[in-house]
């Protein structure tokens, strides 16, 4: 049977991808950030997941205003890196897992989560930066990836509660998949940041710390937080954090916090990262 073993959350700032691609990771500005992922890289190299369900948001790359799916699940065999306006990142093509992806789609739709099935989708920095942070610069990604794109650009994004419950539905789907697979789920985006308007640059360390604490200990409480609290406290783009609740919902009620890292700034953003393992 497929087994969901762990969840990872991480920010997906585009400037981090650029720093990796341009060989700037040893520069004083970036070094402390990349050091914060050293332990995680070792951890995941030991864990060797077969498949990662990667929850992220598209930043007007694959989806524009023509089509705005709230939840879009990538069921294709592969996903090319998107050209975000300056040429695609020079990272490997992302290989999907169509069999598990279709199983998840079928399972969660019958479980009343009406997500969109996508067979042709380029993936932007939201998906590729977390892979680069955890796997470095391999010639091929070491596992298959199922992209789950969540709308957080057009208000309203799904509620935290909806995300948390979708995570639970994804877990039920993984648990009912026959082949032996080691599965992980990533929640990406956040933490506090605001990219627009006179309040740009907002960072809220206290909010982020409490979010990380509750992600481990009391995700149910976190799932009840209204959108206004995210925007007011964590900035207009801090609302991306609802995506972390999909990851958390897919894990056991009780989890072991393996690792946590927090760093300000990466460009305009507070970088947060946490690794949670199911106990069993």
């Amino acid at each position: 049977m497929a087994k969901l073993v762990a969840g990872v959350a991480t920010s997906h700032v585009p400037a981090i991808g650029a720093a990796i691609d341009l060989g700037k990771t040893e520069e004083p500005y970036w070094k402390p950030l990349f050091q914060g992922y050293e332990l995680s890289k070792k951890w995941i190299a030991e864990q060797k997941p077969d498949v990662i369900i990667l929850v992220y948001n598209d930043h007007a790359s694959a989806f524009s205003l023509e089509l705005i799916p709230t939840f879009a699940l990538g069921c294709a065999a592969e996903f090319p890196p998107a050209d975000e306006g300056w040429g695609p990142r020079k990272v490997p093509v992302v290989k999907g897992h169509p069999e598990l992806a279709w199983h998840i789609a079928q399972s969660v739709i019958l479980d009343e989560f009406d997500l969109t099935i996508v067979n042709n989708m380029a993936v932007d920095h939201g998906l590729t930066v977390p892979l680069s942070l955890l796997f470095g610069q391999p010639s091929e990604w070491p596992c298959q990836v199922i992209p789950l794109a969540v709308n957080v650009v057009q208000y309203p994004p799904p509620t935290g509660n909806r995300c948390y419950n979708l995570g639970k539905a994804i877990r039920r789907a993984v648990d009912s998949f026959d082949p032996d697979l080691k599965v992980m789920i990533f929640g990406t985006g956040g933490m506090s940041h605001q990219l627009q308007g006179p309040r740009a640059g907002l960072i809220n360390r206290a909010f982020d710390t409490a979010f990380l604490d509750n992600l481990t200990k009391d995700p149910r409480k976190l799932s009840q937080m209204p959108h206004i609290d995210y925007v007011r406290e964590a900035g207009s783009e801090g609302i991306e954090l609802v995506m972390w609740l999909i990851m958390r919902g897919a894990l056991d009620e009780k989890v072991r916090e393996v690792y946590r890292f927090y760093h300000v700034p990466a460009s305009n953003t507070a970088v947060g990262h946490i690794i949670l393992e199911n106990e069993a």
Binding site: A15, H59, S64, Q154, R199, A200, G201, V231, G235, P265
Partner: protein, 133 residues
């Protein structure tokens, strides 16, 4: 039916990209989206005003694009992730544009970020901004 006041309107210096803004900014944002293609970027750079005529935007939106007035573009329905296609075409970064939108120099803005960013204290409500004098 009387509509309730929108609580998001109380957050200072922040524009929510909601249904109304999305409708208002549709063609502006789709113009930005067109700059994802290299050929379109070249055509835009060659004659910005002529290129903008291809999109049924308002005269005000076109003017704000030509002047790169970022806060005005946001108030006219622009979304930051779409506007990013425009400033990327100019070779500018998110941090460069964020600094401009806050009325700061890029250097001062970058320093603020290195020092932990803009505090939420005094930046939660429009009342906070009115009282700061």
């Amino acid at each position: 039916m009387k509509s309730e006041p929108n609580p998001f309107d109380d957050i200072p210096g922040t524009t929510l990209f909601d249904a109304q803004r999305s409708r208002q900014g549709y063609h502006l944002n789709m113009f930005c989206m067109s700059l994802m293609k290299a050929d379109n970027r070249e055509a835009f750079k060659a004659d910005e005003a002529a290129y903008l005529q291809k999109f049924p935007m308002t005269a005000e939106q076109r003017d704000a694009v030509l002047k790169r007035e970022w806060n005005r573009l946001i108030s006219l329905g622009g979304n930051i992730y779409f506007l990013a296609k425009l400033f990327s075409t100019d070779g500018k970064s998110f941090q460069h544009v964020a600094a401009i939108m806050t009325g700061s120099t890029q250097e001062d803005y970058a320093r603020m970020m290195i020092n932990g960013g803009r505090s939420p204290e005094g930046n939660r409500s429009k009342k906070d901004w009115e009282n700061r004098g």
